[in-house]
Symmetry: C2
Subunit: 449 residues, 2 copies
Amino acid sequence: MKLSKLLGKNLREKPSECFLQSNIFMIRGSYIKNVASGIFSLFLPAKKSIRKIENIIREEMNNINGQEVLFPVVMPATLWEETNRYSTVGNEMIRFKDRNDSNMVLGMTHEEAAVHLAKGVATSYIQYPFMIYQIQTKVRDEPRSRAGLIRAREFTMKDAYSFHVSKNDLEKYYEVCHRAYERIFERVGLREAISIQSDSGVMGGSISHEFMLLSDVGEDKIVICKNCNYKANIEVFVKNNTSLQLNDGLSFEETVEIINGCKCPACESKSIYVSRGIEIGNIFQLGQKYTKDMDMKFVDEKGESKFPYMGCYGIGVGRLYASICEAHNDNYGPIWPISVAPWEVHICALRIDNKDVKEVSEKIYNTLKSDHLDVVFDDRNSSAGEMFADADLLGAPIRIIISARNLNENKVEIITRDKSEKIFAQVDDTLETVKKMISKEYKKLNFND
Amino acid sequence: MKLSKLLGKNLREKPSECFLQSNIFMIRGSYIKNVASGIFSLFLPAKKSIRKIENIIREEMNNINGQEVLFPVVMPATLWEETNRYSTVGNEMIRFKDRNDSNMVLGMTHEEAAVHLAKGVATSYIQYPFMIYQIQTKVRDEPRSRAGLIRAREFTMKDAYSFHVSKNDLEKYYEVCHRAYERIFERVGLREAISIQSDSGVMGGSISHEFMLLSDVGEDKIVICKNCNYKANIEVFVKNNTSLQLNDGLSFEETVEIINGCKCPACESKSIYVSRGIEIGNIFQLGQKYTKDMDMKFVDEKGESKFPYMGCYGIGVGRLYASICEAHNDNYGPIWPISVAPWEVHICALRIDNKDVKEVSEKIYNTLKSDHLDVVFDDRNSSAGEMFADADLLGAPIRIIISARNLNENKVEIITRDKSEKIFAQVDDTLETVKKMISKEYKKLNFND
């Protein structure tokens, strides 16, 4: 991609009404554009990164025998009436009538659709267990949506649903999926994500976990014990401490003050503290709620008719993308992990009106492209300052700077986005040097290739 | 993928109320499941094929410098009011109010969203031309939706929008895109698709073409001249023949009778006839309608402010998929072109309870998988008849049959889905033989690799 043709216009100023770093950089760098409150269009850089994240998720889901399917965005209300959620879910669910005056909803989650798909076609125990998943647009009419992709009203989600002949089999698969989630977060550059016990809320079921990125800008509160391994979200912690009364009106600081005086429910030490976090994934053991409500049965080994056990497993893709930006940035822009960067390599041609610079830059660009590297080429005739500012905003992990001065010594400068490494390579060694650096970046994220 | 774990249940009977081959096979083979009128969930085989089609489209769009973006499904009515389409488009557009009582719509096309994204960021002629495209869910509340994926109310579409500094530049790019469409249809196995002049209708603009697959089950009528190169849809033909009066109530046969008596508007011969067709793509020269309505401007070389010219280019992905099935099937199921088949290779293990059959099948399956072939393995202990019927329904172009009888001679049988080729290969030569056959299948579709 040549930057002169990339649709977008970078802003030097912080946009008004943006308070999260990820949102600021994504607006400033023309990653996203606001269409309505909490509703965005994506420019190429965001779309590319999100596709990379989706492909990592897809690989890990396929690795645990997931079958990719697709459920509709628009569903008939009748489907949601079977589980009573048409009336119990609030106005975060969009409802409307179609041309035949039938009540319809926009999918904000797809348990009903998953059971609908599996019902009648997974009738024998031999077919179990199985897991189906989709990567699809979801719509939740959130009241607060001022945080860019961290909390949008329309977003892409990976949601998976597993079906089992027994509770025990569900529990085993739940662990398998937990590990797949750890691999996903590691590969997208969020190894630091932690999983905590959570409250199942509207989903029903008993055991559930949230994957959290600890972050000062998170809206979730997490209670952590320094002494033992206890980690839980605040709702679960309050449930475990029946003596504790927290009313909803408390500020974060007031909550922290009350809770930091409590005992850890696990080890009884007074070593607990409260952190803020962003929820980047969740997994639930749903049990038989949905299969019973929708009368989905299978025949077991003894010929008896039974309701399958279900688990469900979600990751908000756009939110995960923005969370990566929250975790990896500096004052100048995102520092994307290579696995999710819009481009792996960013070529800056300093003064492309210089014949040598132009020639060498074009040649390196074409060489890298021919070798299937994912590369963007700043071919505009702008100042070094502007060029570097834009490269910082696009956040490619490896940057090649081509200038007349270095070409005098037949060299190019190669630096990493985080400025930790800086190499002067012979022009002819550029490809090999860059490939080595790329491979090193992927290894950091524990990629196999 | 092992077939014993594939979610789905094949039906031997024709489902009621299905009249199209593609719909019948997709229901019978557990490719799709009806959720509401014209709304479907996709099982793994359909999802896999559709991803392959999407990737072919993506490659061809990227080859003509397309930038992949994403527009929202849910849009504010205000955006559609700018072009007056909020009031002029009928009730095929879903309208509702969000929690803040704002009027919202579900995207059935994205010209407004495309201009919204480009406006203010493509302000200099230097940035032109550019093309942006998305592959995204669309919703059209069609009154007739009884044809499976051929005419659904919710469907995946590739829609592209190009922007130009002049009419001449738009016309040049329009030709480029026309050729890209020809490559797409060739690669998915529909080389026979033809492009015809069409009427722009609700889209505005002047010149437009539809890509048609001639098919007895198509809902569109196409007038073709046997003598010259004239091809047009019936609306354009009627416009070209001012003397001709066709009222809407006429049957296909009545229309044919009237038109077959007409002269060709191009060569004046009486060599015209009428065919039915399925519209699988369309391209429009929109001109400045949308950029003027939405006040999108750029500054040209002379410093003057101007409205860009636009083109738009659509392909309904689900409809294309079903059309491929209409064009390529026999009495037993789809005969998928290899580029879009859910799996390239289908292994049938006849009597897997036989130790040798099991061992060899597993080994071949693993060998093929390790070599990154896309393979499904029927590991169920079912009869040969059932196995072949299911393999016909899944339509993989290459089938390996492993039986005790052939293993006695250390051979396996390899046949193509269309039965045109049948080989007995040494067990150890299976991989090489299959790879050669796969490569041949891709060459038929003009793939470069």
